[in-house]
């Protein structure tokens, strides 16, 4: 059933793009939750917690997302867990994104200036209060530009969900190509759609970074 690219194909690609956005949001929310936990564990007062969270980060950052995808999608069913493509992709991205966001946010927490920690301690706040009321609000400001920047990585990485058969944008392109066999044209369109999703985020992150740099220099005490 060879034919030429028509409105239905574009609609199908559009649907795929929506799933790319949806999967990105799942990864951001799931990975954000895991990452938040990881970041807190990495600066914990308990050594064992620090070591365990650091090991998690090292392992995940040393493993390709593709392998994590295969591990959850193909590896779990033989062990008796059945996993849908969406669940496999969502879980893999959550695990993966969690490690990277965890590191970004740990860096942000630790770059809150030392005197702030000491001032909070001097006020006799508990560790939780110090974190919640003094450190985290400042860390959020520091962490925003790199987090927005990492969202670009998330969107691009959702394309790997195609390998477990989840129909997002890249998979939608493959499916259309299987019937039309116009690979260059179709992947070029797919690339343009990804670009349209990612480029605004990239620009936003750059802008935030510049604004942040300005803000920090003016806030710098003499």
């Amino acid at each position: 059933m060879n034919g030429s690219l028509n409105a239905n194909h574009l609609l199908f690609l559009g649907q795929g793009a929506l799933w790319t956005v949806g999967l990105s949001l799942i990864a951001l929310i799931g990975g954000g939750a895991v990452g938040f936990l990881v970041a807190l564990c990495r600066v914990s007062g308990v050594r064992a917690v620090r070591v365990a969270s650091s090991a998690y980060v090292q392992l995940i950052q040393g493993t390709p997302l593709l392998v994590i995808m295969f591990l959850t999608f193909f590896g779990l069913p033989p062990l008796g867990f059945s996993v849908s493509p969406l669940a496999a992709a969502g879980a893999s991205l959550t695990i993966y994104v969690g490690a990277y966001l965890g590191e970004i946010w740990r860096g942000a927490i630790q770059s809150v200036p030392r005197p702030q920690w000491e001032a909070a301690e001097g006020l006799a706040l508990s560790r939780t209060q110090r974190m919640a009321k003094v450190i985290l609000p400042q860390a959020v400001r520091i962490a925003t530009p790199p987090t927005v920047g990492f969202m670009v990585q998330i969107v691009k990485n959702t394309s790997l969900a195609s390998v477990v058969g989840f129909v997002e944008l890249a998979r939608a392109g493959q499916i259309i190509n299987n019937s039309l066999f116009e690979p260059f044209l179709i992947y070029a369109i797919v690339a343009v759609v990804y670009f349209a999703l990612c480029f605004p985020l990239s620009r936003l992150s750059q802008r935030l970074e510049r604004r942040g740099a300005r803000g920090r220099t003016t806030l710098m005490p003499a």
Binding site: L59, G62, T63, P64, V67, L71, K156, Y187, A191, F195
Partner: protein
């Protein structure tokens, strides 16, 4: 029966894993060297006096950084084919990875170049060095030194990302794992093993870059300043 793990059938296939790991390192090595050089050139291009060249380098960087590697690989693969070139999957993989990492390297090196104080360049100009000589002797090495940790991370990420080239049947580590799991019906064990091999390769690469840093930056070695 469900939760018994058996690694023996998988571990028996270690020569295949080794072959795959070697190809992964080869792909990463080629892309690191060629892509790194490409990135260095494009970073200089982004600071060129010629607006058209600056723009060209910017378009390259933004196009690559805002699209997935998987799609880039398909575009190179099918693009070359439609132009009538017949290359092996490994060649296409190396090419796509090189183009990809070149764009990221461009931005990292550019940040390093921008951080070189203006006075360094003026001092070199005052000594009658040419623009090319200034880049070569005065600017490039300190710029790379500044961003060396970021470059290291980027090249390790590239090595991991080379797993995506399994999708065009380059027989690297992940592709090998796919065969082995379909042969042994031990998917979980296979991918656990292969994940650990990747972790080991990451560690190896970081150690390699650390050692290379000692060679590249003798001042660090002499004065004991950490990177």
């Amino acid at each position: 029966m469900a939760l018994t793990l058996d690694f023996s059938a998988v571990l028996e296939r270690w020569p295949s894993f080794l072959d795959g790991a070697l190809l992964t390192l080869e792909l990463a090595g080629i892309a690191t060297v060629v892509g790194g050089a490409l990135g260095g050139v494009a970073a200089i291009g982004r600071r060129s006096r010629h607006a058209a060249l600056r723009r060209l380098c910017e378009v390259y960087v933004e196009a690559i950084r805002n699209t997935p590697l998987l799609v880039q690989i398909f575009l190179v693969y099918f693009g070359l084919a439609s132009l009538g070139f017949k290359f092996s999957a490994v060649t296409v993989a190396a090419l796509a990875l090189t183009i990809n990492v070149g764009a990221y390297t461009t931005e990292i090196v550019r940040a390093g170049l921008d951080a070189i104080p203006r006075g360094q360049i003026e001092a070199a100009e005052g000594l009658a060095l040419s623009r090319a000589q200034i880049y070569r002797h005065v600017v490039l090495l300190p710029a790379i030194e500044r961003v060396y940790p970021a470059l290291t991370s980027q090249f390790v990420l590239l090595m991991l990302a080379s797993s995506v080239t399994s999708q065009i049947s380059a027989e690297e580590l992940t592709a090998v794992a796919n065969y082995i799991q379909s042969d042994t019906y031990r998917a979980f064990e296979t991918y656990i093993v292969v994940a650990l091999v990747y972790v080991a390769l990451s560690f190896l690469m970081r150690a390699g870059f650390w050692t290379l840093g000692l060679v590249l930056f003798p001042r660090r070695r002499r004065l004991g300043t950490p990177l």
